[in-house]
Amino acid sequence: MTSPSHTDATEIPDRLRGPLARMLASWEFLLLIVAILIFFFNTQASPYFLDAWNLSDATFNFTEKAMIAFAMALVIISGEIDLSVASIIALVSTSMGFAVQFGVDTPLLIVIAIAVGAACGAFNGFLVAMMGLPSIVVTIGTLSLFRGIAYIVLGDQAYSGYPASFAFFGQGYVWWVITFEMVLFMAIAILFYTLLHRTSFGRSVKAIGNNPTAALFAGIRVSRVKFILFVLTGIMSAIAAICLTSRLGSTRPSIAVGWELEIVTMVVLGGVNILGGAGTILGVFIAAIVMGLVTFGLGLLNVPGIVMSIFTGLLLITVIALPIVIRRTHRRAS
């Protein structure tokens, strides 16, 4: 989208910066400092902040969203976007609620959830990867469609009566204050870290985001990789839906409405380039914690949710604008 008169050719420096300097200048390090600052500010702002149980409760703010954010990060790195994730949660949750009415027990519920999530993702993936349609419009369409189906099934009703064993996913503790969701969140983070940074699949995701044509010529099956990414996002949405439904104990068609925005914010805050090609899982991981700390801190200060959304919006724009402004002033100075 830049004008052709000046291309962003990076100059080759005389010598590379050392590993320590590179780490200190990295986005993740900056985020970490922000996280520590917010943590410190929160301890000063509210005496209730530094309580193990309070902090444990606070993790619910971000764990479910972050699970999807990891998959979304891969989708965005590949140059696409998926705005339908919150609607997939609604549809998955509705499917589970529907199944419960027929006395289906927990193991089968999980299978149904994953299957529905994967099917939703495959539908997105088919339209985007196989038919070559723009992902932003397709997923705005499926955003409407998936939640629309939930509304058709449920109307103004709600499903409840989930089996007792189902409650573990969103309410269970593994040890002391460590919730099941926290463990799952960590496991998924490690999984996605490995996938993006340690496998050839991850390399091809980045290659596609940087230059899909070159990636194709390099022998990467671009549409297949994109298809897999959408299915993966669908599955992660289903896992988040299981946790959220289990935590709430009921399903309404308006469940998780507006989450897509917060998840995209999380990914972008984590340093993933919204135009594709670059990003790290560590960044998204820290960004999730930053956002969790901010919402928890503001909550302790009795700031209403809608006002917090101003912070989320400002955070999103500032975080993207900041590097651009810095780079521009840098270029002007040199």
Binding site: M1, T2, S3, P4, S5, I81, L127, M131, G132, L133, P134, I136, V137, V138, I140, G141, T142, L143, S144, L145, F146, R147, G148, I149, Y151, I152, G155, D156, P253, L261, V264, T265, V268, I274, L275, P304, I306, V307, M308, S309, I310, T312, G313, L314, L316, I317, I320, A321, I324, V325
Partner: protein, 322 residues
């Protein structure tokens, strides 16, 4: 014979009305159809603004929040100072909308931030500001002055003012897009930004102008919405931005920029309007509406992709692969 995209959409619209007519003949009466048009007016106005933005290869997801914020402001001004003449209030609404739109525009133009990120951000920020200024309170019908609520219903030659505003916007947009440099610049910028630069068009400035335009139209729609429904609160028109994008996509406006017509945007909006108004008539639960709009978007985008491959009505031909 090859039918143009707009003709096809027009036929689809007739078919849709025809199907409803079979079940419920009253629906196709002129009075009822004018009612549907009136009900769709706000969507048409917004779709025209969104279209200008999409033509330049951007997207404005903040339109509904802009509408709600301007609506809340005008309602609060009206209830605080009922003496302000309504035309002045409408102009204020338009200006405020334009200012909000220019915020999006500046960020896209000067900082090169992707429009989807900017407008996702301002979508929440505007919504949050409504809560801050209104303190979560509603502005109810009895707090608004009678003339404030009367304007959209004011009948002129048998049509309510609301419809007239929509018609006026359609005419203005048609002239702007087809008869002015600014309008042609929108097409050129979206069709091929690189070539547009070589022809002396300032790409960023054109995008900025498109955002100001969509903001101004959102502002007008904000007043119309609040006065028509005679209530203002934090969540008005929440999620409406997707309907607006849907109207444009159904109307054949290419999300890749540079392609689309005013007739398409209007027909796309009317298509959704007819569905919304027909569902209760043919006894389908209104809960079906969201799924139907979603499916319509997907079908339309598949259809668009096929027709775009065939004929590119891009006014600056592809000079180089971007």
């Amino acid at each position: 014979m090859k039918l143009s995209r707009d003709t096809l959409l027009c036929l689809a619209l007739f078919a849709l009305v025809g199907v409803v007519y079979l079940r419920f003949p009253e629906f196709a009466s002129p009075a009822s159809l004018l009612g549907v048009f009136n009900d769709t007016s706000i969507l048409i106005i917004l779709a025209l603004g969104q279209m200008a933005v999409i033509l330049t290869r951007c997207i404005d997801l903040s339109m509904a929040s802009n509408l709600a914020l301007v609506g809340m402001c005008t309602a609060m001004v009206n209830s605080a100072v009922p003496g302000i003449p309504i035309p002045l209030l409408v102009v204020m609404a338009m200006l405020l909308g334009a200012v909000l739109g220019s915020l999006n525009g500046i960020l896209v133009w000067k900082l090169d931030i992707p429009p989807i990120v900017v407008t996702l951000g301002t979508l929440t920020i505007f919504r949050g500001i409504i809560f801050l200024i209104s303190d979560g309170q509603w502005v109810n019908a009895h707090e608004m002055s009678p003339s404030f609520k009367a304007l959209p219903r004011l009948s002129l030659f048998g049509l309510p003012m609301l419809s007239w505003v929509a018609l006026l916007s359609i005419v203005c947009m048609y002239v702007l897009l087809n008869r002015t440099q600014l309008g042609r610049a929108f097409y050129a910028v979206g069709g091929n930004p690189n070539a547009a630069v070589y022809t002396g068009i300032d790409v960023g400035r054109s995008r900025f102008n498109a955002f100001v335009l969509s903001g101004a139209l959102s502002g007008i729609a904000g007043y119309l919405w609040v006065s028509r429904y005679a209530v203002a609160y934090v969540d008005i028109a929440s999620g409406f931005e997707l309907d607006v994008v849907a109207a444009c996509v159904i109307g054949g406006i290419s999300i890749a920029g540079g392609m689309g017509s005013v007739a398409g945007a209007v027909l796309g909006a009317l298509f959704l309007g007819v569905i919304k108004n027909a569902l209760p008539v043919v006894n389908i639960s209104p809960f079906w509406q969201q799924a139907i709009s979603g499916s319509a978007i997907i079908v339309a985008v598949i259809f668009n992709a096929r027709s775009e491959r065939r004929l590119g009505r891009i006014i600056l031909k592809q000079a180089e692969q971007t």
